[in-house]
Amino acid sequence: MIRFKSSVFVERVMRRIRVIAAALLCALPLEGVAAGFGNDLQIHGFVTQGYVNTSDNNFFGDSEDGSFDFTEIGVNASYKVTPSILVSGQVLSRRAGEMDDGAPSIDFALVDWNVFSDEHLAWGFKIGRVKNPLGLYNDTRDVAFTRPSIFLPEQIYFDRVRDLLHSSDSVHVYARRYSDFGTWDFDFGVGVGTVDKNVEIAFLSRDFGGELDTDGLAYVGRIGFETADGVWRFALSGAHVGLAFDGVATDPLGDGDIEVGFLAASAQYNAERWSLTAEYIEEPVEFSDFGTPLDVNDATAQGYYLQGSYLLRNDLELLVRYAEGFAEKDDRSGAERSALTGGRAPRHSFFGKDWMLGVRWDVTPSFMLRAEYQWNTGTRNLSLRENPNPMAAEKDWEMFSLLGSYRF
């Protein structure tokens, strides 16, 4: 894979993307009005409030005492300029304990240009800030109605480093091939990722004076297949993101680079009343130029889950899931990783395994309630920001959570 170290090149590419996007945004409405399409503005949104209570450790706030620090509010606007050009954006306010303070951010803002479509083939471009098409759920991960559970399986859709693979300011090309048998779906993008403080804390273990930022271009892609009746879904997806740390004099570590890869395989079976879902990921992480001890931290993280749901009534769904994740797939006990820290991080902070039982009640098509119980072994899914001392985190912990979500 070609990697561009020079941020000048990236800047130039990004400037070009912005110019093209701005030009499209300006030019299109005129064309739309001229062509007589003008009544295709849609506004939608959602409000989600969660409650988390854990036996030990902090997850989305001071959860040992019961935490309401989990709120998602989104407003979404889309405008169909012509039948084949859609301009859309979503503003999201997300409160997630110490990880996110609720400051509104642009979740996505893009032009989707469907260059061609008929009953056999469709293809086009997406330009702007695009949610990364990773796994089955990343593109809509902040919308409770689209998640299978209150929290997505943390071993795959990590909340503690959510921004790393969340979205990119990018250009995507997509294609869909339809047949009586099913639909093939291709989506490839190149651009610049979005990174926040959580990423720095997750990879460098604390928030230093310097900045950890994206370096070079980020690549993301997904190939999917879905049978025409929607019963089987398969997907392979992947991403590559480069990060560079630019330290200041007071930082105890030098400048360095981190390369992060992500590969996911997903499968789902949907019957009328029940469904089975499984996903598997590997995430190779490579440190360079920091010097020891960071550079010896290279690892390939691994995660997977199996999830079953059963529709008891049309408005009532039961859910069960088992998930496992490891910081290094060849060190499942965490012994080697723990030794690398000189024992400052216990073995159980390098894996996370959990059983989960849940229920979803669709009170109306636009209002939903959920309740879940989770039994955890290991603390890998916890944020260091919320649990600063890894030695103090309990290995075995349980979690009860509630969620209400309304959409319009």
Binding site: F37, D40, Q42, H44, G74, N76, S78, K80, P83, S84, L86, S88, G89, Q90, F108, A109, L110, D112, N114, S117, D118, E119, A122, K126, V130, K131, P133, D139, T140, D142, V143, F145, T146, R176, Y178, S179, D180, A228, D229, G230, N270, E272, N314, D315, T364, P365
Partner: protein, 142 residues
Amino acid sequence: MRPSFLPRRRWWLLFLLCVSIARADQALVAHPEVVKRELSLNTARLMFSMQMPQWPNGAPVRVFVLPDDHQRHRDFAKNLLNLYPRQLRRVWDRQLYSGTGQPPETVSSEAEMRQKVAATPGAVGYLSREEIDDSVQVLSIR
């Protein structure tokens, strides 16, 4: 008392008749100026999953649906599209919340459905047989 062979067979015939009536109980309807007379199952699925934005002549496709929990919507999805309503909702949600599509317009009743489909060029929807009149045209699914 054990039923004789003949009545049992009649029971099956009656059952099959009921099933076929149930299947034919609703139809896909379109604006009267839509030139197509029939759609392939695949095309109908693409239209109702909002992946077919245009008719062959370039005019926009306008899709109308009843609420997810409306019995007519469930029957249409299951019997005519061979999809579960949940699958349609999943596709609409994925498009809406990733910025790649817009969900169909939801109407609250069959009367509103008929009126909207009749008044909107390029419209498709569905109605029970007794709600269909000359203001809309029926498209068959092959």
